[in-house]
């Protein structure tokens, strides 16, 4: 059993993921915005974070991911980013990251995500 934080502004998708993860006895907490997500991550220290890339802005998720990775207490927490494959291509990964390409997340999951894929990805990153 793990504590999983879902940061996504789509309440329905969050709810579906919550049911899937709870069926595997995980404890799910959720946040509807990037700021709320950061606050909950800092306060509750989840074991894994599922983060939607498109929230208030088209790449809010990346901003949140960078903040998470800057936090000493949270930087080891795996972040799975939800994205549409083609959205990913348009983003500038080099922003703020100095001269090297910096991908601040552990994995990309293409939306919509099948329940079995969600479970297997989450288990994979929790085991690491």
């Amino acid at each position: 059993m793990a504590k999983i934080l879902i940061i996504d502004d789509d309440a329905d998708i969050t709810e579906a993921m919550r049911v899937v993860l709870e069926s595997k006895s995980h404890w799910v907490i959720s946040a509807k915005s990037g700021e709320e997500g950061l606050a909950k991550a800092r306060a509750q220290r989840p074991d894994l974070i599922i983060l939607d890339v498109m929230m208030e802005t088209t790449d809010k998720g990346f901003e949140v991911a960078r903040e998470l990775k800057k936090d000493d207490l949270l930087k080891s927490v795996p972040v799975l980013m939800l994205t549409a494959l083609k959205d990913k291509m348009g983003l500038d990964f080099k922003k703020e990251a100095g001269d090297s390409v910096w991908l601040p997340v552990e994995a990309y999951l293409e939306k919509p995500l099948k329940p079995e894929d969600l479970i297997s990805k989450v288990e994979h990153f929790l085991r690491r």
Binding site: D10, D12, A16, V20, K114, P115
Partner: protein
């Protein structure tokens, strides 16, 4: 660039090239006519002056050919004036006012009307008239010799004032009328061309607005659909609790239809996005790895149908410049089609060749093929071949339209050869250097 989008400079150069090629024909015509007059009709002509003018024509035609390449300027006005002078000299040495070829001046009036402004065309007509009158006058007054067309129908008319008067009147009026008519037609055609160019620009703009609208709508639909699919899949999979048989059956149907709609919406978002993108990001990537990854993508489906995908990639094929994700998707898509429309036990193969500047990718299958009359429409949006619709109910009709957009964006070409019932071969040529089309 479209026809309407051609720069002024380009069209001037293009038209001047036309003038130069016409002149080569005229030069050949002069030589043949002079030879025929001399040998067949036994009309004695002054060979040396005529050949000298032909020589002058050849020399300045070569000079203009060279100048067009070097200076990107047509010199159309100068070319026409020189032609008129040459023509007047030719006519002078071959009978003057008695020579019916006099009326060949009209061709230059038409050419001037097409190439030049109306004012310049009238000035050229005036120059032609001046040359003609000068020739008639010097021959009439005897300032220069008259070369009589001995044994021709009309002869020794250069001093007949009535004849000179009538021919001059007809000649001068013909030239001006020709210029007037030709410039009127040209003016209308130019106006038409300009309005077509404007209409074309407007259509492109409307198409862009339409694409933006489609993108916004499909994007919204996709968001909602994504949520629906997440919820339905969770319940249909029994994750939210046990379902009875009827519930499971109906939810499975809903889930399947949602998935199909999702595939369609995603394809629509994708093609619209490519169409709207001013530029897609290019990078060097290994085509070999990309093709292998595309094969992996369809391998399971192929194996399930007992189809083995044979691949042969030339050793020279490796790095190319382009959008890797799009290229992989395009190749995977064509391979997936090959597997989808080939019956169990059939064959699918992909081979890749390298000719130095381009790579040629060929996907062959032994599938249902494409009906002859439908091959041309296959790459159109939403088009599905009749036998494809019969064999496989689901399909968006967008896969090949996306493939065409992607290949065109890479400055390449995609086409298909097929025989119904015997299989299809899809070919893609991609430039390795990756010029954004």
């Amino acid at each position: 660039m479209t026809r309407a989008g051609k720069t002024v400079e380009e069209s001037i150069v293009e038209r001047s090239r036309w003038l130069i090629s016409l002149r080569w024909i005229a030069i050949a015509g002069v030589i043949l006519t002079a030879a025929a007059a001399n040998l067949v009709f036994k009309i004695p002509l002054p060979v040396i002056p005529l050949l000298s003018i032909v020589g002058i024509l050849i020399v300045y035609n070569l000079i203009f050919t060279f100048l067009i390449v070097r200076l990107r300027d047509g010199f159309a006005n100068l070319q026409i004036s020189l032609d008129l002078a040459c023509l007047a000299t030719l006519v002078h040495f071959s009978g003057g006012i008695e020579n019916p070829f006099l009326f060949y001046f009209i061709f230059h009036m038409i050419i001037a009307s097409i190439l030049l402004s109306r004012r310049a065309a009238f000035l050229q007509a005036t120059f032609a008239v001046a040359l003609f009158l000068a020739m008639v006058t010097i021959e009439y007054t005897g300032a220069m010799r008259h070369y009589c067309l001995v044994s021709f129908i009309i002869k020794d008319q250069h001093s007949n004032l009535l004849y000179i008067g009538v021919v001059s009147f007809v000649f001068v009026s013909t030239l001006y009328i020709a210029v007037y008519m030709a410039t009127s037609i040209t003016k209308r055609l130019r106006e038409r061309e300009a309005s077509l160019a404007q209409a074309n620009a407007l259509l492109n703009e409307k198409d862009r607005i339409k694409s933006e609208y489609v993108l916004r709508v499909t994007h919204d639909i996709k968001e909602h659909l994504s949520a629906i699919q997440s919820c339905v899949e969770t319940v249909a999979g029994g994750i939210a609790g046990e379902l009875n048989e009827k519930q499971a059956n109906l939810l499975q149907r809903a889930d399947d239809r949602t998935a199909k709609l999702m595939v369609f919406v995603k394809a629509l978002v994708e093609i619209t996005r490519i169409k709207l993108a001013q530029e897609i990001e290019f990078d060097y990537f290994s085509l070999k790895d990309t093709i292998e990854s595309a094969i992996n993508f369809v391998d399971t489906k192929a194996r399930n149908k007992g189809i083995i995908i044979n691949s042969s990639i030339a050793p020279a094929v490796d790095m190319i410049n382009g959008a890797q994700v799009y290229i992989e998707e395009t190749i995977a898509n064509i391979l997936a089609n090959a597997v989808k429309y080939t019956s169990a036990g059939g064959r699918v193969s992909i081979d890749v060749e390298d000719d130095g500047g381009n790579v040629l990718i060929r996907v062959r299958d032994t599938g249902i093929g494409i009906p002859k009359g439908e091959i041309g429409k296959l790459f159109e949006e939403f088009y599905r071949a009749t036998n494809a619709r019969f064999t496989e109910k689901s399909g968006t009709g967008l896969g090949l339209a996306i493939a065409k957009q992607v290949v065109a964006r890479h400055g390449g070409k995609i086409w298909v050869e097929s025989e119904e019932g015997a299989g299809s071969t899809f070919s893609i040529i991609l430039p390795k250097g990756g010029v954004q089309g």
